[in-house]
Symmetry: C2
Subunit: 760 residues, 2 copies
Amino acid sequence: MATISDISIAASINILSAFAFFVAFAVLRIQPINDRVYFPKWYLKGLRSNLLQSGAFVHKFVNLDFQSYLRFLNWMPAAIQMPEPELIDHAGLDSAVYLRIYLTGLKIFAPIAIIAFTVMVPVNWTNSTLEDSNLTYSNIDKLSISNIPLGSKRFWTHIVMAYVFTFWTCYVLKREYETITSMRLHFIASEHRRPDQFTVLVRNVPPDPDESVSELVEHFFMVNHPDYYLTHQVVYNANKLSELVKERKNKQNWLDYYQLKYSRNQSKRPLTKTGFLGFWGKTVDAIDFYTSEIDRLSKEISDERLKIDNNAKYIMPAAFVSFKTRWGAAVCAQTQQSRNPTLWLTEWASEPRDVYWNNLAIPYVSLTIRRLIVAVAFFFLTFFFMIPIAFVQSLANIEGIEKALPFLKPIIEKKVIKSFIQGFLPGIALKIFLIFLPSILMLMSKFEGFSSISALERRSATRYYIFQFINVFLGSIITGTAFQQLNNFIHQSPNEIPKTIGVSIPMKATFFITYIMVDGWAGVAGEILRLRPLIIYHLKNFFLVKTETDREEAMDPGSLGFNTGEPQIQLYFLLGLVYAVVSPILLPFIIIFFGLAYVVYRHQIMNVYNQEYESAAAFWPDVHGRIIIALIVSQLLLLGLLSTKEASQSTPMLITLPILTICFDRYCKGRYEPAFVRYPLQQAMMKDILDHTKEPNIDLEVYLRSAYVHPVLKAGDDYESNLASEDDHMEPALVPTKRHSQMTTLLPSKHSGSSQYLIV
Amino acid sequence: MATISDISIAASINILSAFAFFVAFAVLRIQPINDRVYFPKWYLKGLRSNLLQSGAFVHKFVNLDFQSYLRFLNWMPAAIQMPEPELIDHAGLDSAVYLRIYLTGLKIFAPIAIIAFTVMVPVNWTNSTLEDSNLTYSNIDKLSISNIPLGSKRFWTHIVMAYVFTFWTCYVLKREYETITSMRLHFIASEHRRPDQFTVLVRNVPPDPDESVSELVEHFFMVNHPDYYLTHQVVYNANKLSELVKERKNKQNWLDYYQLKYSRNQSKRPLTKTGFLGFWGKTVDAIDFYTSEIDRLSKEISDERLKIDNNAKYIMPAAFVSFKTRWGAAVCAQTQQSRNPTLWLTEWASEPRDVYWNNLAIPYVSLTIRRLIVAVAFFFLTFFFMIPIAFVQSLANIEGIEKALPFLKPIIEKKVIKSFIQGFLPGIALKIFLIFLPSILMLMSKFEGFSSISALERRSATRYYIFQFINVFLGSIITGTAFQQLNNFIHQSPNEIPKTIGVSIPMKATFFITYIMVDGWAGVAGEILRLRPLIIYHLKNFFLVKTETDREEAMDPGSLGFNTGEPQIQLYFLLGLVYAVVSPILLPFIIIFFGLAYVVYRHQIMNVYNQEYESAAAFWPDVHGRIIIALIVSQLLLLGLLSTKEASQSTPMLITLPILTICFDRYCKGRYEPAFVRYPLQQAMMKDILDHTKEPNIDLEVYLRSAYVHPVLKAGDDYESNLASEDDHMEPALVPTKRHSQMTTLLPSKHSGSSQYLIV
């Protein structure tokens, strides 16, 4: 049992480390040499050009304006200043809505915390159950529900509070859903013409012995959408081609590296070995070797490109079909085309950059089977992931290493190193697994066959949430592996389960407080420092960068990472809602997390992240649904907890609560969710008419013809232009912000008119 | 424990009673006076005219052709003869597909029974577990799984059989789904022009201060479907009007009755009392009283009709919107219209006669709440229905009756009557409840707000199935009320439940055999006798019938009653699948039920039932889904049973089975279900083009303008024509069958060319 002083010590340590991160960030950030690490977004948008070109030599690398060091927390208000509509213009709706998740957290938990501390804490505190018992307890426990005697009438406070909290949460959720729905519709309506508004992805085009896929698609839509069909673009299987292009780029990097090395030290031609990573094989002249390799790959690439153009086998049974009007596309995307509902499947085309090309040709039956396989695999991953890790742990002990690599023996036998290895090794297998988990989940989603990156990320997020719920939340409350829990739960009656978990909840409050501080506070503060991109950027800059384009590429702005970020936030929603009634002491820690994360991520979104796609907040139904799940879990656990407190007369009251919550969820699903999966004809028609009046003579066919060409095919044969055009493609449209400069730095900026939020 | 001889006695009793029903039916059927009871369908189709007009007086009432008595089972082959396409023409697709449920039963269980008797019965029989034990057992139990010793290797036979049966059932289900899907699509494609193909029901039209509903609808669809919108029909709230019309019809019946009475005995004017049912109140001249009442009602009706025409409050926020092409309607029905997904909800209009007019104006929020209320009410109905019945039973004892109605005391005290009441009363409350249950469930569905009669029936069927599953199937296996079971199950671990039920299953085989014979065999045989319609028809014929129209109305052909019939069939599927592996002795009884029911219902559909609507087999996904559920239940119960037999090494094999079944179900859902809920554009377009070439000049607007007017509003002011037109409206389209007469009866028939299947 941690006492309040334990908690305060832990809190101060974490606050200090977070503070240290912030200071480090503040110092590193204002060094010109790091500018591309901390402000890549502005470079990508072309609003900030190379800083290394002008000024004194020293000024290029180190900031000597000491005043700016004093204002080291200035980025915080700057991050909050940019109004939301401008943020949407600047970074897209996805990012703006993502930030609203944190805001939702604040909106839900701030009032709940106030009520909990004014109403429930006094009710809990003014008992003496813990004092009278022989249990060891801390003052923190006196604030929790554990301090209420069995069968006390005071439990009614908690029940009423459960209702109040539920209604408040639902109210906030409903308002958020409403706002975000209208934001999404407004965003889609106010957007400029985009190819995906006119385009539908058709999958499972049936094979035809007489016609090619392209002819078949054309004829089918000519007949069935005669007034609206415009053009189409078949999908080529360019997976091999894009691999070749990737390999050439890699070789090109090595060539650059050796050329740079040679130019710095011209006395000796650099050498390399032909084998794996240059470790094995014949020694050759590096520059010659890589030049010839690149030539070879270039030839292969143009061969492959020829094959794709001429061989029908490279055409997949899928196509992007474009229509003359948004109305026509909306109709086609929402209706069934063929008598056989597994053929001619239509869905809205994602944005061109959101398309996941590799999955476009999976047939319908295969999808069912893939889904089954992934479901089974995920089940085993969730409940049995400890088994291989335990196996690795049992291998990776000192004796094992000494046997496998006897030459390391003298080093390992040293006492310091030995104890370090013994303490470190068991954890490292688990840590590595957890680092790779999101990638594993992403692989699963890819295997499952989703056709857009946003859908892949959403599905991965769902799985990651389930994994965290079972292994972090339940795993921390009930000790034992997930599999042991599963086994217990199967052998328990269903109404025992909430009891078992509910009873353990108050005891785990201090554990979760620490968890929030380490994972939440310090994690968020670490995020802003961007240690990994910082190091990699400087390495690349030193070894590879020759041209401006190279430098552009060396930046790694990253993106929001919905598949890892959102499940983490959801864990805090879960903790907050579960502990709101049981141990309100947890709430302030969660509120600080949400506040801090909001500021940090807002800053990052404004200055760093480069969104890979724009799904117009398509993820909100998932976010909403998971908060509802957290709410229901909290209600069931409270029910379980109270039923052990001899307060069973409260059961009917508490059973009603999840039922009402489910009804609320169904209402929201019907009322708001369609806006995220369908496209209302009214809106399509309005936009069509508007477009038609504004630009009656635009040639849409030209505009749409090559919008959905595979990125590798779009590029010409020359690989330099290839790389450049690929960049073009990924680059978001230029949206200069509207404010005037209040730049407080001496550094020049090409478009300084838009850098108000770049307070350095 | 029933022995084989017990079963044979029960079987012979039931076979005899079924046989008696058939003989009675055979005799009653060929009496001309009953012709309208046993062949109403032919009258309604106009293929058979009044038999009472010609021939000798005696011949009008009694059949004196004794040869025809000898061929009394001739109806059976006749019932089977009509080929399916002709049956679809004659009685609609719904009826034809309904019969296929019985055929599916035969297809599933006949091969299963053969395999079970050749493979499993020998395996079970050649053990001596029961002989060695001290339990009482019968030879029937020796055929079941109970005879296998604990932990025997022979259980592998049962596991393999479970796989074989599952695969066979799935194979049959898949083929049936495929056939019925193509039947449905073919039926829709080959149908003549029907208003519902061009019409979409729009609900939740938003209120507008400036425009009437009609204007609003017109403007909205003019703008958003400019090329396809044709016309629309607003929905009037004519609930009060139709009640008035109903009341007038009732009064008219009484008037007819008294006029007939007076015409038979002109010496005395008939008298009646003005109060409830003519029991209380002032005594008046009956003919004068009812004439004035009818005049009053006629006036009220025309007043109400005027109000409906002129008062905007009678217009509901819903409309039937018709389009120029099927394509346009298909598009509108499948897409979202408005930004707010709870407004302008569109769905396919049902057939005009399938529309449930009262529910057309329920707003969206109310629907969610209604659904919740009904779900809770159904939960209580299912699990607690015994409580009020037990209460009624406790009141309705001898002492209670004697206290309430002391003057009955001398009669009740007689020994015979007393024991009769004591034996009869407790059961009667339950029996009455069970008779009214389908109506209660139908009321629930109506309250829930479905807008078509077919949807109401489907939902009621689902609820009835759940009720039967819990109270008949589980209730018979585990004694105790449903609530006690629920309580047990909540306090048991989830993997105990299949064990508890599984263990009891083999012991209940003989009970279910008796149940199948009484409820199945005798019930089906009773259905063909139509005792209730027979009595009511003759009563009406004697007291009310004056004109041909009256006689037409006195017929009560009834209809299939999907909401009661289908759940009953499903119970047999459940029993068959559950007992296939455990006690195959049940299978022959189920096969006989399916065969008998198939013949009987085919006969009834051909000769009696008058379908109220045509949903083009929209119910098949429900039927399929419930057989899948039965399959999964059988697999889980086998798992539970085997886990008590020390055959736990089989668990992984058996867990795989339901997972595979669920995957199969999901595959079928994706592959076939869309054909039942959506309308492919390809088909709509084909039909449109065909129509356009055939009849390029048809004026669709005239055709569609009044298709969706409320039936009471369609009629003129004159109430005679009103009644007649209502009939018109209910009458199905005339589809004469194509064969030539082989009529073996002396009775004349107007269109004898189509009466081949009327073998008398």
